[in-house]
């Protein structure tokens, strides 16, 4: 691989990853753009910023964090270099999502310790309107539908989620004890269920990470509330 170059690699099991060189270091991330599934190896890379040539979504190669027009982060893999070989370690859903990526490793592993992996069948209900909002969820696989309103007056709330995205985040707020939507699995889905109060306690012990998470949470909420024309 050339210096500050990149290459698509087959990591086995049908998993394709993009491996990129940045000086002395190597980084690995998903091989296709999360926007339109364009091969990222056809994009542009200058040793720090990766750009998809199709719509100019950009990411920091070190963290997968979105830059500029990109609406979602890249799934990144931990890399171990041994001689001429580069090994990658697939991440958990918690590391993929925007909410927790990049916080202190110890705090992240404590939150990981609070997470319970649960599998739901198609049609399974996660929660109903008015249920207490004790836990939030991180999507590992599958699809979730949200419906707002009560009785006959319901309306789909939209919200397409990607792997690693958080929902039911009312559990992380102080004054929102009840669910405002009904969440149902549209297909068999695997989720991480995490207790909101316990996470807040972990974050209180690490205010630096807590600050990052709260900033991300507020911009996440703002994005769903965004007025017309806002990006």
């Amino acid at each position: 691989m050339p210096s500050n170059g990149m290459r698509e690699c087959d990591a086995g099991g049908g998993l394709k990853v993009l491996v990129a060189n940045a000086g002395e270091e190597y980084f690995a991330c998903q091989a296709v753009c999360p926007h339109q599934e364009v091969a990222l190896c056809e994009g542009l890379y200058d040793g720090s910023v990766l750009t998809c040539h199709q719509h100019l979504w950009q990411w920091d190669i070190r963290s997968g964090a979105p830059i500029g027009l990109a609406e979602t982060p890249l799934e990144c893999f931990k890399v171990e270099v041994d001689g001429d070989s580069v090994y990658i370690v697939p991440p958990g859903a918690l590391n993929v999502g925007e909410l927790f990526s990049g916080i202190a490793e110890k705090t992240l592993s404590e939150i990981n310790g609070l997470a319970k992996r649960e599998t739901f069948p198609q049609g399974g209900t996660l929660y109903n309107v008015g249920d207490p909002a004790e836990d939030f969820f991180v999507l590992e696989s599958g699809r979730i539908e949200f419906v707002i309103g009560r009785d006959d007056r319901t309306s789909p709330a939209g919200f397409m989620l990607r792997k690693g995205e958080v929902f039911g985040w009312a559990a992380l707020l102080d004054s929102q004890p009840l669910r405002i939507a009904k969440a149902t699995c549209l297909e068999p889905s695997t989720l991480l269920r995490i207790n909101g109060k316990q996470v807040l306690k972990v974050l209180e012990a690490d205010p630096g990470s807590g600050y990052v998470v709260m900033r991300r949470l507020s911009s996440l909420i703002a994005r769903y509330l965004a007025p017309s024309g806002a990006k």
Binding site: E37, L44, L56, I67, G158, R223, S228
Partner: protein
Amino acid sequence: MKIQINARNRAYQFSTVAGEKILYAGLANGINLPYECGSGTCGTCKARLVAGDIADAWPEAPGRKYLKQQGEFLMCQCVARGDCSLEVANFVYNMDPGACTPAACRGTLTNLRLLTSDVIAFSVELDAPRDFDAGQFMLVQVPDVAGYRGYSMVNFERDAGRLDFVVKKKSGGGASEWLFGDAAAGSTVELFGPLGSATFFPALAKSILCIAGGSGIAGMMSILARGCQEHYFDQYGGNVFFGVRAFKDAFYLDELSRYRNEFPQKLQITIALSDEDVPPAAGQRYPALAFEKGLVHEVAARHMNGKYQNVRAYLAGPPPAVDAAIRVLLLEAKLTADNIRYDKFS
């Protein structure tokens, strides 16, 4: 028929009438659904059918190569055959309150004239005036040729009763060949638009850089028209690079000269000839314009080197030329992606 769209951030509902493409219906309702070409080639408007039934008007559309998962389809090519529920994997917002909401309209083809051996200009006299922004395009459907083609407006005015276009002849390109034929003048054409996000507004308050190949100059002419009308170039710089193969392939040189002469201090216009040395006649006939040999993105890169502060770039033309310009602007000029505007047609 009711369409329900679940986007990444929220849901939208709107209605379509029989035969109306789902994308066009959503856009006409002021919902900024993802799209770029609007005509079946780019794949940007893909969505996933969750419930309901749709009909695909163009199952061979090249944009279908971007469809990966079951149930995915192109909103610009499909009509609903009953109530439908869809998913769109983007954040979708309503259009800005001031945006020119796209709509279907109709007009008459007039004023067809050859600009070069393979470039034709024409106007459409609209049945009712329309607003559009400088740099936008319309989807145009000509009689006898299925499907829409996207053509950028050349002119700029508010409440436009006439839209000016310029089209390069493509062999096998049904609509462009039809425009070069005898049947075109006086025909009625169907339009949908305006579309496109490579728009220019004087409130931008940046220098502008236009890099266009061939008929891609159309949108730049509209941007220049607006910029000159509003005396934008009294204050901000404009650098226009127009690439063609040879001097005989260049067009709009009188119009470009006129713009340059209005704002000789801040507006620079360079014609790049990729396949021939600059003939002496070029500079003699058009002293207001600069001529240079080379690919348009290379000529632009040479001139712009070190002058990228506070610049917004607009790109248009054949996809390889646009891609090459993007590469220069991102990697060498270090422009941020939101300051590189283009509409990808393939």
